[in-house]
Every structure is written in structure tokens, then in C-alpha cells.
């Protein structure tokens, strides 16, 4: 099985302050965090400047923590107490840099070939083609980095990192310059690559969808500290504390099991803690574990049970709580599972909603989206 990566580090970054700028007060940045990865893809999530890149650099050995310990399974990569500090190479950690860092003197193909471990020429050539094709940049194989578009550069960097077959792969916003449709395809490829290699991936992003789509585990950073960890779903559903709330939005996320596939109707039936949900058709075998999301804004509340609607899911439940926030009102409805529903203030009065009231939730199958 995949060995976990354990990280526990303190690191101060001091800017190179010159006298001329002594008037600017904030010049340092301090990282102080501990976390462990889980098998699969681990998401490092957090706002700009929260220390995501710095964390990856410390793990890869590009920056040396002042204090702490980094281990991959039983292999200690860094330990300030034991004075262990493996070289970058010895760590066998791949790194997809935020700015690509492709070698400017090599073509895209040569960049990818650079990291390859197999010695045989034909096999190398083959593998390079394969990797470039995987990330849709075959057409740019002979181009130099400065002749590549921003998104192409990122994709070549991804291919290069995979080529070296690392033991751990760190990805620093690898798809930020890629358009949405392409990104969807590439996320699949990254996922597949992870499953194939079975090595831990640590994936930096500030994109919700990416985090939920890929992540088995999420580490939420804020100002150099871990504010929450857990399954991306859990973190986004129940952020703890003001800092965590800021990052997560209003998504309901459930894990369940595929219990039926109605191809003709174009729906997949998912059971979540005894509740059956119809989701838009998704090609997964019956019995598969699946995660689905419903945005709190997408749910309609009714006081009567409706049958003649296109909403395939009509869930009966009770209002558990009503939260009136400045600009929105949220209901917490218990239908077997707890569901957040976002309504307008007027709705509360119009439907005479109060705690304990019986309600029916209307959710379209298409609003139940499969996130993994």
C-alpha cells in the first residue's frame, strides 16, 4: 500500500530587506504546520499567499525547514532533531512547478525525455510521445518552452514530472492556465495516473471543483497554518471556524453507493444513508462508491408532496434549524441525511417554516452532480 507522507515543519521566510524599504513592516512569512497524507490524491487548499508553494518546496527539499520532520512511510526525508536532511534527488519527489520551470534550452519533447529513467532509445521515444499525447500537447513536441502557450507549458511540465516516476508527486496548481473543457479531460488523466502508480499526490489548487473531483483528502491552509483536514466533502460541508468557512462555499456533499442504473431514463440511483437519490446518468458499475454534490441554492422546498414535476428527487424531512445570515437564510433539513438548503428570507414567511416543520425537498436529478 501507499506509504503516507508525514509532514511537521516550521519555516520562516525572511525577505531580503534593504534599508530603503525598512518602512514596510511586513516582510516575513512563517509556516508552522503538521499533516499526513492519505492514499490517493491529497489536496492542499488555501488562499493566495497561504503557504502552499512553500510547503511543497519544504517537502521536496528545495527549502529547508528551521525545525520539524518529514517522513514518507518509514523513510525519513528530513528530521531537524536527528540532523537528517536527504538531498532532493534522494527524496525521489516529483514537482510540477507553479511556473512550469521547463528547461528553456530543450524542446517540449526533450523536456519530457529529460526525466525518463529507461535507457533504451526507442522506449524513451515511445514514452515521450505517449506522455505528450496523454496531455494533448503532441503538436507542440518540437517547440521550445517560449514557443508554447501558457496552458501547453503546464501540460508539458506535468508530462515531464510523470516521466521521472517519482515516489511522491507534488503538483502546484498544474492546470491554472488550462481552459475548463481541457481541464476536465486532464483531471481524468491525473486521476488515472495516480491510480496506476499508487503513489501519493499532493495537489495544490484553489479551485473547488478540482479539489472535490480529485481529492481523497484535503488539507486546508491559512496563513501558514493548517486550519482543517479531512475528506474534501467533509471540509467543505462543515468548515470549522471562520477561516475555514471562508474557503468552502455552500455545497452539500454525500458519499453513497450506486444501487441502480436506469439507462433509458438517463439516471443513476444512489443510496446515501438509506435515502435514495436520482442523479444524472454516470457510467459507474452498480455497487460502486460514489460522491455526489448538491448546491444549497439548487434545492426547492415545498410544504406539499408533488408528483407531477421534473424533480426526480422529492425527499420528506423536518426542518432542524433555520439560520438567518445577513444576506441569506439557510435551512438545515433532516431527511435521513442532513441537507443544507439556501432560501430567501421571504420563503420562511410564505411557507410558514419553523423548526420541526415537515417539508419536501425537490432536487432535480441533474442538480445531483457526481463529484467522484
Amino acid at each position: 500500500m501507499t506509504a503516507t507522507l508525514q509532514v511537521q515543519i516550521k519555516l520562516r521566510l525572511a525577505a531580503d530587506v534593504r534599508l530603503a524599504h525598512a518602512d514596510h513592516a511586513h516582510t516575513g512569512f512563517a509556516l508552522d504546520l503538521a499533516f499526513e497524507t492519505r492514499a490517493g490524491i491529497n489536496i492542499l487548499f488555501g488562499p493566495s499567499g497561504s503557504g502552499k508553494t512553500t510547503t511543497l518546496r519544504a517537502i521536496a527539499g528545495l527549502a529547508t525547514p528551521d525545525d520539524g520532520r518529514i517522513a514518507h512511510g518509514s523513510r525519513v526525508l528530513f528530521d531537524s532533531a536527528a540532523r537528517i536532511n536527504l538531498s532532493i534527488q534522494a527524496r525521489r519527489i516529483g514537482f510540477v512547478f507553479q511556473d512550469s520551470a521547463l528547461f528553456p534550452h530543450l524542446t517540449a519533447a526533450q523536456n519530457v525525455a529529460y526525466g525518463l529513467r529507461q535507457p533504451e532509445q526507442r522506449a524513451r521515444h515511445e514514452r515521450v510521445r505517449e506522455l505528450l499525447a496523454l496531455f494533448n500537447v503532441e503538436h507542440a513536441a518540437a517547440r521550445y518552452p517560449r514557443e508554447l502557450s501558457g496552458g501547453e507549458q503546464q501540460r508539458v511540465a506535468l508530462a515531464r514530472a510523470l516521466a521521472a516516476q517519482p515516489d511522491i508527486l507534488l503538483l502546484d496548481e498544474p492546470l491554472s492556465a488550462v481552459d475548463a473543457p481541457t481541464r476536465t479531460r486532464l483531471l481524468d488523466e491525473i486521476d488515472t495516473a495516480q491510480r496506476a502508480d499508487g503513489i501519493p499526490f499532493l495537489y495544490v489548487t484553489h479551485n473547488h471543483a478540482e479539489a472535490v473531483r480529485l481529492g481523497a483528502h484535503l488539507i486546508l491552509l491559512h496563513e501558514g497554518r493548517v486550519v482543517q483536514t479531512g475528506r474534501p466533502l467533509d471540509v467543505f460541508n462543515s468548515p470549522q471556524g471562520a477561516l475555514a468557512v471562508r474557503a468552502v462555499g455552500t455545497e452539500n456533499l454525500f458519499t453513497g453507493r450506486v444501487i441502480e442504473q436506469r439507462m433509458t431514463d438517463g439516471v443513476t440511483i444512489v443510496e446515501v444513508q438509506g435515502v435514495q437519490l436520482e442523479a444524472a446518468y454516470h457510467a459507474l458499475p452498480v455497487g460502486s462508491l460514489i460522491t455526489v454534490g448538491v448546491r444549497a441554492e439548487d434545492i426547492i422546498v415545498a410544504r406539499e408532496r408533488l408528483t407531477q414535476t421534473s424533480a426526480r428527487n422529492v425527499l420528506a424531512g423536518h426542518v432542524r434549524a433555520i439560520m438567518r445570515l445577513p444576506e441569506q437564510t439557510e435551512l438545515l433539513v433532516n431527511c435521513g441525511v442532513e441537507i443544507k438548503v439556501s432560501v430567501t428570507a421571504g420563503t420562511i414567511n410564505a411557507l410558514d417554516l419553523r423548526e420541526g416543520a415537515e417539508v419536501f425537498l425537490l432536487i432535480k436529478a441533474r442538480a445531483v452532480h457526481v463529484v467522484s
Binding site: I88, P104, Y144, A163
Partner: protein, 222 residues
Amino acid sequence: MIWSALKVSLLVVAVATVLTTALGLALAFLLARRDFRGRELLDAVLTMPLVLPPTVTGYYLIVLLGRRGLLGAPLYAWTGWTLTFTWQAAVVAATVVALPLMLKASRAAIESVEPKYELASYTLGKSEWATFWRVTLPLARRGVLAGIVLSAARALGEFGATLMIAGNIPGKTQTLPLAIFEAVVSGDDRRAQTLALLLTLVSVTAVYLTNRLSRAPRAHAA
């Protein structure tokens, strides 16, 4: 005799350039990428042959490598061979005086390479050695090449130190600059001009070709 001087010069320059390049690169890498005590002092000391009058450098070389020299004496005792007055001596002289040029130019170039590329190479599992050859050097190539051209030119033109340790033996250690000097000072203007023209031709051609080659097929920004 013109041709023999040309032959000697080319031989000396070829060997000296190879030596200077190898030594200069190694030292430049050391100075650029390793932090050790006395680093800047070593750099400064290695610049000396540029400052000392070549004859003085030559004299020190004899003191060190001559038949009764610090290193030369044991060598002579051991092999019965002495460096003085051989073409190898001209190579040594040329190498010593050219080294600072190679060293300084390459050091600056290597230090100008953004560390991120070397770090990227390390994360791809490549050793420092492999990284140096495949990343650092290609990215520093302009400066390194300038260093090589400078030191080859300096080796070709080397005169004072060579004169001292290699002598001025036609057909054996008389290089083009020695021949030109002789011609100029003895008032043989015709010969001096021919030789100078030859030297100019050789070096201009070499420099020109190097420049052209180093820029083909097209300039890539590092």
C-alpha cells in the same frame, strides 16, 4: 618558418584551450555554486596571472616547474625530463595566463543561471554532475563560450610567459606572437606584416566562426 610558427601556435592553442576550459569550468563551478571559506580570495588569487607582467609569471613558472624548480626538480629526478623549452611549456604558460579569463567569464555566467532550473533537474532525479552538464552549462553557454573564446585568443597571443619558460626555438616553441615580435623589433616590417596578417586571419576566422556557430540556428534566451 612562418608555417612552423603557425603550426606550433595552433598546437599550443588547441591543447591550452582544452586545458583552460576544463580547469576553468571546474573552478568556476566551485566558485559559483559552493560556499567555502576563502572563496573570494581564491578567485582573487586566480586572477593574478592577468595582472602580473607575463614575464614575471613566466619567471615564477620556471621557479616552480624548471629543472631546479619546486615541482620541476623531482620531476627531473624521476623522469630525466624537464618542461622548460618544450612545446608543453608553452601550453602551460598559455593555460596559466588564459585561465583567469575562462574562470571569471564562466563563473559570472553560471551564477546568472536561475537556480530553479537546477532544482527542477534535481527533482527529476538527476545528480549535480548530470545537472551541471545538461542544464547549468547549456544555460550558461554564452558566458562560457565567451570565456573560451577569450582564453583561446589570449593563449594564441601569449607571449611573455611563453618566451620565458618555453624559449623561442624556431620550429619547436616559436609561436606566431614570438615570430611577430622578433620581426617587428628587428625591423623586418615585411615579415612582421605577413605574420600579423596571418595571426589576424587565424584569430578573426576562429572568433567569427565561434560567434556564428554559437548563435545558430537561433538565439534562445536563457
